[in-house]
Subunit: 201 residues, 2 copies
DNA sequence: ACCTGAACACCGTTCAAGT
DNA sequence: ACCTGAACACCGTTCAAGT
Protein backbone atom coordinates (compact mmCIF):
# COMPACT_ATOMS: atom_id res chain seq x y z
CA UNK A 1 0.00 0.00 0.00
CA UNK A 2 2.46 2.59 1.25
CA UNK A 3 5.10 1.64 -1.31
CA UNK A 4 3.48 3.75 -3.95
CA UNK A 5 2.81 6.56 -1.52
CA UNK A 6 6.50 7.05 -0.99
CA UNK A 7 6.82 8.23 -4.54
CA UNK A 8 4.11 10.81 -4.35
CA UNK A 9 5.55 12.15 -1.15
CA UNK A 10 8.00 13.86 -3.41
CA UNK A 11 5.31 16.44 -3.91
CA UNK A 12 4.84 16.94 -0.19
CA UNK A 13 1.30 18.20 -0.56
CA UNK A 14 0.47 14.77 0.62
CA UNK A 15 -3.16 14.50 1.59
CA UNK A 16 -5.48 11.61 2.07
CA UNK A 17 -7.58 12.87 -0.78
CA UNK A 18 -4.66 13.16 -3.15
CA UNK A 19 -3.47 9.70 -2.30
CA UNK A 20 -6.91 8.29 -2.92
CA UNK A 21 -7.18 10.02 -6.29
CA UNK A 22 -3.78 8.71 -7.20
CA UNK A 23 -4.89 5.25 -6.23
CA UNK A 24 -8.09 5.59 -8.23
CA UNK A 25 -10.19 4.98 -5.20
CA UNK A 26 -12.59 6.88 -3.01
CA UNK A 27 -10.78 9.06 -0.46
CA UNK A 28 -12.59 7.46 2.42
CA UNK A 29 -11.68 3.91 1.53
CA UNK A 30 -8.26 4.53 3.02
CA UNK A 31 -9.73 4.58 6.48
CA UNK A 32 -10.57 0.93 6.13
CA UNK A 33 -6.90 0.10 5.94
CA UNK A 34 -5.39 2.68 8.21
CA UNK A 35 -6.28 4.41 11.43
CA UNK A 36 -5.66 7.97 10.35
CA UNK A 37 -3.19 10.19 8.57
CA UNK A 38 -0.76 10.19 11.44
CA UNK A 39 -0.53 6.41 11.37
CA UNK A 40 0.06 6.56 7.66
CA UNK A 41 2.98 8.95 8.12
CA UNK A 42 4.40 6.67 10.77
CA UNK A 43 4.09 3.84 8.29
CA UNK A 44 6.05 5.75 5.69
CA UNK A 45 8.79 6.53 8.18
CA UNK A 46 8.97 2.93 9.36
CA UNK A 47 9.15 1.63 5.83
CA UNK A 48 12.07 3.96 5.25
CA UNK A 49 13.88 2.43 8.18
CA UNK A 50 13.09 -1.08 7.02
CA UNK A 51 14.65 -0.56 3.63
CA UNK A 52 17.96 0.70 4.98
CA UNK A 53 20.68 -1.72 3.84
CA UNK A 54 22.90 -3.34 6.43
CA UNK A 55 26.41 -1.92 6.74
CA UNK A 56 29.49 -3.98 5.96
CA UNK A 57 31.90 -3.99 8.86
CA UNK A 58 35.63 -3.47 8.59
CA UNK A 59 36.54 -3.74 12.26
CA UNK A 60 37.85 -0.19 12.45
CA UNK A 61 35.64 1.86 14.76
CA UNK A 62 35.97 5.15 12.94
CA UNK A 63 35.18 3.89 9.46
CA UNK A 64 32.47 1.58 10.69
CA UNK A 65 30.64 4.33 12.52
CA UNK A 66 30.99 6.65 9.55
CA UNK A 67 29.78 3.98 7.15
CA UNK A 68 26.89 3.03 9.33
CA UNK A 69 25.73 6.59 9.70
CA UNK A 70 26.32 7.29 6.04
CA UNK A 71 23.79 4.67 5.08
CA UNK A 72 21.26 6.71 6.95
CA UNK A 73 22.52 9.97 5.49
CA UNK A 74 22.51 8.80 1.90
CA UNK A 75 19.04 7.34 2.13
CA UNK A 76 17.82 10.49 3.84
CA UNK A 77 19.24 12.68 1.11
CA UNK A 78 17.68 10.52 -1.56
CA UNK A 79 14.24 10.86 0.00
CA UNK A 80 14.46 14.11 1.86
CA UNK A 81 10.72 14.40 2.37
CA UNK A 82 10.57 11.06 4.08
CA UNK A 83 13.65 11.84 6.11
CA UNK A 84 12.14 15.07 7.36
CA UNK A 85 9.18 13.06 8.51
CA UNK A 86 11.32 10.50 10.26
CA UNK A 87 13.49 13.07 11.99
CA UNK A 88 10.59 14.88 13.54
CA UNK A 89 8.68 11.88 14.75
CA UNK A 90 8.90 9.58 17.72
CA UNK A 91 8.26 6.15 16.45
CA UNK A 92 8.62 3.97 19.48
CA UNK A 93 8.68 0.77 17.50
CA UNK A 94 10.97 -2.18 17.13
CA UNK A 95 12.16 -1.18 13.70
CA UNK A 96 14.36 1.68 14.81
CA UNK A 97 15.79 -0.40 17.57
CA UNK A 98 17.73 -2.62 15.23
CA UNK A 99 19.56 0.48 14.10
CA UNK A 100 20.30 1.27 17.72
CA UNK A 101 21.42 -2.29 18.29
CA UNK A 102 23.88 -2.15 15.43
CA UNK A 103 25.29 1.12 16.71
CA UNK A 104 25.68 -0.24 20.20
CA UNK A 105 27.32 -3.37 18.81
CA UNK A 106 29.92 -1.26 17.05
CA UNK A 107 30.91 0.43 20.27
CA UNK A 108 30.73 -2.74 22.36
CA UNK A 109 33.01 -4.51 19.88
CA UNK A 110 35.58 -1.80 20.46
CA UNK A 111 35.85 -2.28 24.17
CA UNK A 112 33.23 0.09 25.49
CA UNK A 113 31.00 -0.85 28.37
CA UNK A 114 27.24 -1.00 27.83
CA UNK A 115 26.86 2.34 29.64
CA UNK A 116 29.51 3.99 27.54
CA UNK A 117 28.03 2.49 24.40
CA UNK A 118 24.59 3.91 25.13
CA UNK A 119 25.89 7.39 25.87
CA UNK A 120 28.26 7.29 22.95
CA UNK A 121 25.56 6.13 20.61
CA UNK A 122 23.20 8.84 21.78
CA UNK A 123 25.82 11.51 21.25
CA UNK A 124 26.64 10.29 17.77
CA UNK A 125 23.00 9.87 16.93
CA UNK A 126 22.06 13.36 18.09
CA UNK A 127 24.85 14.71 15.94
CA UNK A 128 23.66 12.63 13.02
CA UNK A 129 20.10 13.90 13.38
CA UNK A 130 21.24 17.50 13.52
CA UNK A 131 23.49 17.01 10.52
CA UNK A 132 20.90 15.32 8.38
CA UNK A 133 18.35 17.96 9.28
CA UNK A 134 20.78 20.57 8.00
CA UNK A 135 21.53 18.57 4.85
CA UNK A 136 17.92 18.03 4.03
CA UNK A 137 17.79 21.79 4.22
CA UNK A 138 15.29 21.91 6.90
CA UNK A 139 16.93 22.81 10.14
CA UNK A 140 18.53 26.07 11.11
CA UNK A 141 21.97 26.96 9.83
CA UNK A 142 22.46 30.49 11.12
CA UNK A 143 24.99 30.98 8.39
CA UNK A 144 23.23 33.81 6.63
CA UNK A 145 23.71 32.15 3.31
CA UNK A 146 21.60 33.50 0.48
CA UNK A 147 22.33 37.11 1.37
CA UNK A 148 24.07 38.64 -1.62
CA UNK A 149 27.78 39.06 -2.30
CA UNK A 150 30.47 38.03 0.11
CA UNK A 151 32.15 41.36 0.60
CA UNK A 152 28.96 43.30 1.05
CA UNK A 153 27.96 40.78 3.63
CA UNK A 154 31.26 41.00 5.39
CA UNK A 155 30.87 44.77 5.73
CA UNK A 156 27.36 44.36 6.91
CA UNK A 157 28.45 41.92 9.58
CA UNK A 158 31.28 44.10 10.76
CA UNK A 159 28.88 47.00 11.15
CA UNK A 160 26.56 44.78 13.16
CA UNK A 161 29.45 44.00 15.50
CA UNK A 162 29.64 40.35 14.53
CA UNK A 163 33.39 40.30 14.24
CA UNK A 164 33.93 36.56 14.25
CA UNK A 165 31.21 35.88 11.75
CA UNK A 166 32.53 38.56 9.43
CA UNK A 167 36.04 37.19 9.80
CA UNK A 168 34.81 33.81 8.60
CA UNK A 169 32.33 34.81 5.89
CA UNK A 170 34.10 32.70 3.34
CA UNK A 171 34.09 29.56 5.44
CA UNK A 172 30.48 30.16 6.49
CA UNK A 173 29.37 30.63 2.91
CA UNK A 174 30.21 27.09 1.91
CA UNK A 175 29.27 23.87 3.67
CA UNK A 176 30.54 20.52 2.43
CA UNK A 177 28.12 18.22 4.18
CA UNK A 178 30.26 15.12 3.84
CA UNK A 179 33.27 16.88 5.20
CA UNK A 180 31.39 18.45 8.09
CA UNK A 181 29.86 15.13 8.94
CA UNK A 182 33.04 13.08 9.03
CA UNK A 183 34.75 15.89 10.90
CA UNK A 184 32.13 15.81 13.61
CA UNK A 185 32.14 12.05 13.90
CA UNK A 186 35.91 12.04 14.16
CA UNK A 187 35.62 14.54 16.97
CA UNK A 188 33.13 12.40 18.82
CA UNK A 189 35.09 9.20 18.37
CA UNK A 190 38.32 10.85 19.39
CA UNK A 191 36.55 12.00 22.51
CA UNK A 192 35.16 8.55 23.16
CA UNK A 193 38.50 6.83 22.71
CA UNK A 194 40.24 9.27 25.00
CA UNK A 195 37.56 8.75 27.58
CA UNK A 196 37.89 4.99 27.52
CA UNK A 197 41.66 5.29 27.64
CA UNK A 198 41.38 7.51 30.71
CA UNK A 199 39.17 5.08 32.60
CA UNK A 200 41.22 1.96 31.92
CA UNK A 201 44.48 3.44 33.17
CA UNK B 1 1.90 41.68 17.35
CA UNK B 2 3.52 38.28 17.58
CA UNK B 3 4.21 38.59 21.32
CA UNK B 4 0.74 37.48 22.20
CA UNK B 5 0.78 34.78 19.56
CA UNK B 6 3.65 33.03 21.30
CA UNK B 7 1.39 32.25 24.18
CA UNK B 8 -1.34 30.71 22.09
CA UNK B 9 1.21 28.61 20.27
CA UNK B 10 1.09 26.45 23.34
CA UNK B 11 -2.03 24.95 21.86
CA UNK B 12 -0.29 24.23 18.56
CA UNK B 13 -3.50 24.19 16.62
CA UNK B 14 -2.31 27.55 15.55
CA UNK B 15 -4.30 28.87 12.66
CA UNK B 16 -4.77 32.28 11.19
CA UNK B 17 -8.41 32.10 12.05
CA UNK B 18 -7.79 31.12 15.65
CA UNK B 19 -5.30 33.90 16.07
CA UNK B 20 -7.74 36.41 14.67
CA UNK B 21 -10.51 35.26 16.98
CA UNK B 22 -8.14 35.47 19.90
CA UNK B 23 -7.26 38.99 18.83
CA UNK B 24 -10.89 39.92 18.49
CA UNK B 25 -10.45 40.83 14.90
CA UNK B 26 -11.50 39.59 11.50
CA UNK B 27 -9.34 36.68 10.33
CA UNK B 28 -8.42 38.44 7.14
CA UNK B 29 -7.14 41.57 8.79
CA UNK B 30 -3.95 39.72 9.58
CA UNK B 31 -2.96 39.76 5.95
CA UNK B 32 -2.61 43.51 6.14
CA UNK B 33 0.23 43.10 8.58
CA UNK B 34 1.87 39.93 7.41
CA UNK B 35 2.61 38.25 4.12
CA UNK B 36 1.27 34.82 4.95
CA UNK B 37 1.28 32.15 7.60
CA UNK B 38 4.79 31.05 6.79
CA UNK B 39 6.14 34.51 7.39
CA UNK B 40 4.27 34.58 10.68
CA UNK B 41 5.92 31.34 11.79
CA UNK B 42 9.29 32.74 10.81
CA UNK B 43 8.48 35.76 12.89
CA UNK B 44 7.73 33.63 15.91
CA UNK B 45 11.00 31.75 15.50
CA UNK B 46 13.00 34.93 15.08
CA UNK B 47 11.43 36.49 18.14
CA UNK B 48 12.45 33.41 20.08
CA UNK B 49 16.05 33.95 19.03
CA UNK B 50 15.90 37.62 19.86
CA UNK B 51 14.84 37.00 23.41
CA UNK B 52 17.69 34.61 24.20
CA UNK B 53 19.76 36.12 26.97
CA UNK B 54 23.47 36.65 26.43
CA UNK B 55 25.76 34.14 28.14
CA UNK B 56 28.24 35.16 30.81
CA UNK B 57 31.75 34.06 29.95
CA UNK B 58 34.16 32.39 32.31
CA UNK B 59 37.11 31.95 30.00
CA UNK B 60 37.04 28.16 30.21
CA UNK B 61 36.13 26.70 26.84
CA UNK B 62 34.22 23.70 28.11
CA UNK B 63 31.98 25.51 30.55
CA UNK B 64 31.46 28.45 28.20
CA UNK B 65 30.31 26.23 25.35
CA UNK B 66 28.05 24.27 27.65
CA UNK B 67 26.61 27.46 29.14
CA UNK B 68 26.08 29.03 25.78
CA UNK B 69 24.30 26.01 24.40
CA UNK B 70 22.33 25.58 27.59
CA UNK B 71 20.74 28.97 27.15
CA UNK B 72 19.33 27.66 23.91
CA UNK B 73 18.32 24.37 25.46
CA UNK B 74 16.57 25.87 28.44
CA UNK B 75 14.61 28.33 26.34
CA UNK B 76 13.72 25.58 23.91
CA UNK B 77 12.44 23.36 26.66
CA UNK B 78 10.41 26.20 28.11
CA UNK B 79 8.67 26.79 24.77
CA UNK B 80 8.89 23.48 23.07
CA UNK B 81 6.38 24.35 20.37
CA UNK B 82 8.36 27.37 19.31
CA UNK B 83 11.58 25.41 19.46
CA UNK B 84 10.19 22.73 17.20
CA UNK B 85 9.35 25.44 14.73
CA UNK B 86 12.79 26.95 14.92
CA UNK B 87 14.59 23.66 14.57
CA UNK B 88 12.80 22.71 11.39
CA UNK B 89 13.11 26.01 9.63
CA UNK B 90 15.78 27.75 7.67
CA UNK B 91 15.66 31.33 8.68
CA UNK B 92 18.48 32.94 6.76
CA UNK B 93 18.34 36.14 8.70
CA UNK B 94 20.74 38.20 10.68
CA UNK B 95 19.22 37.28 14.00
CA UNK B 96 20.58 33.77 14.12
CA UNK B 97 23.97 34.93 13.02
CA UNK B 98 24.70 36.66 16.29
CA UNK B 99 24.38 33.28 17.93
CA UNK B 100 26.82 31.89 15.41
CA UNK B 101 29.14 34.80 16.02
CA UNK B 102 29.19 34.21 19.74
CA UNK B 103 29.92 30.54 19.20
CA UNK B 104 32.74 31.28 16.82
CA UNK B 105 34.13 33.85 19.24
CA UNK B 106 34.29 31.23 21.95
CA UNK B 107 36.39 28.97 19.79
CA UNK B 108 38.55 31.76 18.40
CA UNK B 109 39.33 32.96 21.90
CA UNK B 110 40.67 29.51 22.68
CA UNK B 111 43.25 29.48 19.93
CA UNK B 112 41.33 27.94 17.07
CA UNK B 113 41.72 29.23 13.54
CA UNK B 114 38.67 30.65 11.76
CA UNK B 115 38.40 27.43 9.73
CA UNK B 116 38.56 25.25 12.79
CA UNK B 117 36.10 27.50 14.56
CA UNK B 118 33.54 27.20 11.77
CA UNK B 119 33.82 23.42 11.57
CA UNK B 120 33.84 23.08 15.32
CA UNK B 121 30.83 25.30 15.69
CA UNK B 122 28.92 23.39 13.05
CA UNK B 123 29.67 20.09 14.75
CA UNK B 124 28.60 21.36 18.15
CA UNK B 125 25.54 23.03 16.68
CA UNK B 126 24.41 19.92 14.81
CA UNK B 127 24.75 17.98 18.03
CA UNK B 128 22.81 20.66 19.87
CA UNK B 129 20.00 20.56 17.31
CA UNK B 130 19.74 16.80 17.48
CA UNK B 131 19.77 16.86 21.25
CA UNK B 132 17.12 19.54 21.60
CA UNK B 133 14.94 17.78 19.08
CA UNK B 134 15.11 14.69 21.25
CA UNK B 135 14.43 16.67 24.42
CA UNK B 136 11.46 18.45 22.98
CA UNK B 137 10.25 14.94 22.32
CA UNK B 138 9.98 15.32 18.66
CA UNK B 139 12.82 13.58 16.99
CA UNK B 140 13.54 9.89 16.81
CA UNK B 141 15.01 8.10 19.78
CA UNK B 142 14.99 4.48 18.68
CA UNK B 143 15.07 3.52 22.28
CA UNK B 144 11.82 1.62 22.36
CA UNK B 145 10.71 3.37 25.47
CA UNK B 146 7.03 3.11 26.29
CA UNK B 147 6.94 -0.63 25.65
CA UNK B 148 5.94 -2.26 28.89
CA UNK B 149 8.12 -3.74 31.60
CA UNK B 150 11.86 -3.94 31.40
CA UNK B 151 12.31 -7.68 31.67
CA UNK B 152 9.59 -8.52 29.17
CA UNK B 153 11.23 -6.13 26.81
CA UNK B 154 14.64 -7.62 27.33
CA UNK B 155 13.33 -11.05 26.42
CA UNK B 156 11.57 -9.66 23.41
CA UNK B 157 14.76 -8.01 22.21
CA UNK B 158 16.84 -11.10 22.72
CA UNK B 159 14.38 -13.09 20.66
CA UNK B 160 14.59 -10.51 17.92
CA UNK B 161 18.35 -10.96 17.87
CA UNK B 162 19.08 -7.49 19.16
CA UNK B 163 21.69 -8.62 21.63
CA UNK B 164 23.31 -5.30 22.36
CA UNK B 165 20.04 -3.48 22.80
CA UNK B 166 18.77 -6.18 25.13
CA UNK B 167 22.01 -6.07 27.06
CA UNK B 168 21.49 -2.37 27.67
CA UNK B 169 17.73 -2.19 28.25
CA UNK B 170 18.19 -0.50 31.57
CA UNK B 171 20.43 2.22 30.22
CA UNK B 172 18.23 2.71 27.18
CA UNK B 173 15.13 3.03 29.29
CA UNK B 174 16.28 6.19 31.00
CA UNK B 175 17.69 9.31 29.41
CA UNK B 176 18.97 12.20 31.49
CA UNK B 177 18.97 14.94 28.92
CA UNK B 178 21.35 17.22 30.80
CA UNK B 179 23.79 14.43 31.34
CA UNK B 180 23.65 13.23 27.74
CA UNK B 181 24.10 16.74 26.53
CA UNK B 182 27.15 17.63 28.57
CA UNK B 183 28.62 14.23 27.82
CA UNK B 184 28.35 14.85 24.09
CA UNK B 185 29.74 18.35 24.29
CA UNK B 186 32.66 17.10 26.34
CA UNK B 187 33.31 14.53 23.65
CA UNK B 188 33.29 17.14 20.94
CA UNK B 189 35.50 19.57 22.81
CA UNK B 190 37.95 16.86 23.75
CA UNK B 191 38.15 16.00 20.09
CA UNK B 192 38.63 19.62 19.12
CA UNK B 193 41.36 20.20 21.66
CA UNK B 194 43.21 17.09 20.62
CA UNK B 195 42.95 18.16 17.01
CA UNK B 196 44.38 21.59 17.69
CA UNK B 197 47.11 20.06 19.81
CA UNK B 198 48.03 17.75 16.95
CA UNK B 199 48.33 20.54 14.40
CA UNK B 200 50.42 22.89 16.53
CA UNK B 201 53.09 20.30 17.29
C1' DA C 1 -4.16 52.76 5.12
C1' DC C 2 -6.67 49.44 7.40
C1' DC C 3 -10.68 46.43 8.17
C1' DT C 4 -14.54 43.32 6.62
C1' DG C 5 -17.16 39.39 4.80
C1' DA C 6 -18.25 36.48 1.21
C1' DA C 7 -16.10 33.13 -1.59
C1' DC C 8 -12.65 29.60 -3.43
C1' DA C 9 -10.28 25.59 -3.23
C1' DC C 10 -8.85 22.82 -0.26
C1' DC C 11 -8.20 19.78 4.39
C1' DG C 12 -9.06 15.23 7.91
C1' DT C 13 -12.62 12.58 9.55
C1' DT C 14 -17.48 10.62 10.58
C1' DC C 15 -21.22 8.05 9.42
C1' DA C 16 -25.14 6.01 7.28
C1' DA C 17 -25.81 3.59 3.21
C1' DG C 18 -24.64 0.42 -0.02
C1' DT C 19 -22.33 -4.38 -2.11
C1' DA D 1 -15.39 -7.13 5.05
C1' DC D 2 -14.79 -3.48 2.07
C1' DC D 3 -16.23 0.58 -0.64
C1' DT D 4 -18.96 4.93 -1.42
C1' DG D 5 -20.68 9.69 -1.14
C1' DA D 6 -22.67 13.18 1.38
C1' DA D 7 -21.71 15.94 5.26
C1' DC D 8 -19.15 18.36 9.19
C1' DA D 9 -15.99 21.32 10.91
C1' DC D 10 -12.26 23.12 9.74
C1' DC D 11 -8.01 25.25 6.80
C1' DG D 12 -5.05 29.40 4.03
C1' DT D 13 -5.80 32.87 0.87
C1' DT D 14 -8.08 36.18 -2.63
C1' DC D 15 -10.68 39.93 -3.65
C1' DA D 16 -14.13 43.37 -4.09
C1' DA D 17 -16.29 46.31 -1.00
C1' DG D 18 -16.37 49.27 2.60
C1' DT D 19 -14.39 53.27 6.22
Amino acid sequence: VATRLLNEVGAEQLSMRRIAVDLGVDPMSLYNHIENKDALLDGIALQFLDTLPAPTLTGDLRTDVVNHANIFRRAARRQSQVAALLLTRQLGSMTGLSLTDAGLGLLRANGFTPEQAVHGFRAIFAFLVGTVLREVSLGPTFSGQNLGGLNERRDELTCAGLVHASEAVHQLAVCDHDEEFTFGVELLITGLLQLSAATTT
